[in-house]
Amino acid sequence: MFIDPKLSDFVRDCLAIRDEFHLRDLLGSITRSLGFEQFALVNHVDLAGPPSGAMVLMSYDDGWVERAISNRYFVDDPIHAASTKTVTGFLWRDVPRMLELSHRQKRILEEARGFGLCEGLTVPVHAPGEYRGTCSFGRRALIDLSSGLLGAAQMVAMFAFEAAHRLLRSRWPHPDGLPAVPVLSRRQLECIALVACGRGDAEIAHLLGISEPTVHQHINEAMRRYGVHKRPQLVVRALFDGQICFRDSVR
């Protein structure tokens, strides 16, 4: 399939990106070429890097961003939640079919409309153990999701994300490449998966046929290897690295 020259230019320009202002300008321009009005590139969490390693580039209205931050909408952003359930781009209007939306999430979607974010397309971008995020495009009018549009959005998301990631790496280089994914034993992984299901140590011990202190030990050792002190942090890190998957946590 023929690539629109604007897309080829975008890919080529991404490879020569200088800084995030340059990337934001490129994204703004390609967003309009794709037929959208606003964009948001959000690196959800770069857990393997310093806290300042997360990158957010968006053209969303300042008023919307302010409201989202002060009301902590990012905590249960429905678009983010939907993006973890699929590997390809999806329309915002399909999100109610993808997950059971809470009242708060429905309200978030409704309020966003007031800021011109009525219709949108989000492309999840996931490189296991490296980054997980989304690239979203929004506008007022209805979207006709032709396969051409989906392919083009996928390409933009992929190359924009890699450009952002390269920028971050050059800013905060890890001395020996990316920190290694901690090696965990099979038992430790089984325990973490059950913790992710909300099971307590006694239940886990019963399910795995080992003693409670042993369960506690496995989890503590896993936390030590990850350098975290709380179980929810351990679960999130293991999920991010792909050591357990979402299916593990819904048993």
């Binding site: 023929f2 897309l7 971008v125 190359f159 290694a180 090696v183 965990l184």
Partner: protein, 210 residues
């Protein structure tokens, strides 16, 4: 260890390759449900697996499969040229210095941390193979998720066409350039990971692998 083998070889090579074809069945047919042929109920092979097909493997010292890929020169039959030419916006690459990577396969019983290591070893071995055999680029056909990963390995990638929604999902063709600066780019991306060469028990087909 890293091995480069061709389809026709001695008994030891056959055992390693057989393990690879078994791993391919486990991944592409059992796990991913691809509609591709099975041989003797155990092995996944198709028309592109022939006596002169080149395979790159990462195996244990005992010869057990950890990861592998298939390499085909684009001046011969390839998946991109023969099955998915429409994924290219322009002419399909066809030259002896451009090879296609396909059937990129990691053993299913590897854990997540190990998967990334074997994946990095394989990609590193592919780049070394290219540098040692005057190959200047690789091409591949892959789904959106894989394309994202491939794009992040550090090498220079450019899409051959816009990804398309096919029956098997959003699929695209990508070209990855290999040049003397590629190892450095991959090291910066955290992907560069050379493997020890095979011991003398395994005959390498072309080029030493570090």
């Amino acid at each position: 260890m890293a091995l480069i083998l061709t389809g026709g070889g001695g008994a030891m090579q056959d055992a390693v390759l057989a393990d690879m074809f078994r791993a391919r069945k486990s991944v592409f047919i059992d796990l991913l449900g691809w509609d591709v042929p099975v041989l003797a109920g155990q092995y996944e092979l198709d028309q592109f697996d022939g006596p002169s097909t080149v395979y790159l493997l990462i195996a244990t010292p005992e010869g057990a499969h950890l990861g592998s890929m298939r390499l085909l020169p684009t001046d011969g039959p390839t998946i991109l040229g023969d099955i998915f030419p429409s994924l290219c916006g322009g002419p399909v690459p066809a030259s002896p210095d451009c090879w296609e990577i396909s059937r990129f396969c990691l053993s299913r019983d590897l854990r997540a941390g190990e998967r990334r290591v074997i994946r990095n070893r394989l990609v590193t071995a592919a780049v070394l193979f290219a540098l040692q055999n005057d190959i200047t680029s690789y091409v591949c056909v892959a789904d959106a998720a894989w394309l994202t990963q491939i794009n992040g390995f550090g090498w220079c990638c450019d899409p051959l066409g816009a990804p398309q929604s096919l029956a098997c999902g959003l699929t695209g063709a990508m070209r990855m350039s290999v040049a003397p600066d590629t190892p450095g780019l991959m090291a910066a991306a955290g992907t560069w990971l050379p493997s020890p060469a095979a011991s003398t028990g395994h005959r390498a087909a072309q080029g030493p692998v570090q």
